[in-house]
């Protein structure tokens, strides 16, 4: 299990589960849902979107907003939904494993 590699992919897939979004909105959605704790650099997000698109986990389509501006909107595909499910389980397992390591050993003083 590779710990941090792929976390960004997981965050993007999860964000798109709630509906399609364009690249700029994905950054904002991750920031908002993490309570401003996670700020994804656009320079990391954009190549990740292209990678997910190449893998067939998201697809992208140009759409026109109500303000008449065009934006490329990303959507989760059925394969992406399946991948999200797998990655979510892997992540939970990883968190449990790290929590086990961090757990204070018997006799270890607090602080």
């Amino acid at each position: 299990m590779e710990p941090l590699y792929g976390v960004l992919d997981l965050l993007i897939l999860r964000t798109l589960l709630f509906g399609p979004l364009h690249g700029y909105a994905i950054v904002g959605a991750i920031r908002d849902s993490s309570g401003d704790r996670l700020t994804i650099e656009f320079g990391s997000l954009y190549p990740a979107l292209k990678r997910l698109e190449l893998k067939g986990w998201v697809n992208a389509k140009w759409e026109t907003s109500e303000h008449n501006s065009r934006a490329k909107v990303y959507r989760l595909t059925p394969a992406g939904r399946k991948r999200l499910h797998e990655e979510t389980s892997e992540w939970a397992e990883f968190v449990r494993a790290v929590a086990g390591v961090l757990k204070p050993a018997a006799g270890e003083a607090d602080g």
Binding site: H22, G23, Y24, E41, F42, G43, Y46, P47, L49, K50, R51, L54, K55, G56, S69, R70, A71, K72
Partner: protein, 137 residues
């Protein structure tokens, strides 16, 4: 499936269409964001190209992206003088420089390109020049 998608980008028109689409997308996103908020978009684009495997394609099929050589050859066939590459601008901090280069023939601009190095910008400019020179190039 992923390999087929990647191989599709070996086709020059597919690659050019994807490149144009990406530039349009980055422009549309830059229009939504505040100035400087997104960081260096040239680097974001270059990293996206790396995801498509274009950087690796250079190793598999050398020459597939060597647009400078192709421009040179096309102009030689026409018996003309060699093109001149001119550095137009350098922007960004030391660790994230972006270069803009124009390629000219007898003072007339044939193309312009951006990249993370001077050579990369020259290659991008040469690719545009190839389009300008037409299909026989």
């Amino acid at each position: 499936m992923m390999l087929w998608r990647r191989l599709g980008y070996l086709l020059p028109w597919r690659r050019r269409a994807a490149e144009r689409d990406m530039q349009e997308e980055l422009r549309s996103i830059a229009a939504m964001a505040e100035r400087g908020e997104l960081g260096n978009l040239t680097i974001a684009a270059e990293d996206a190209r790396a995801e498509w495997g274009w950087t690796r394609l250079e190793h598999i099929a050398p020459g597939a992206r060597d647009f400078k050589t192709r421009v040179q050859e096309a102009l030689q066939r026409r018996g003309g003088r060699p093109p001149v590459y001119e550095l137009i601008a350098v922007a960004g901090p030391d660790h994230a420089r972006s270069f803009e280069v124009a390629v000219r023939l007898d003072g007339q601009e044939l193309g312009r390109g951006e990249g993370r190095s001077k050579l990369e910008a020259e290659q991008a400019a040469a690719e545009q020049a190839l389009e300008a020179l037409g299909p026989q190039a």
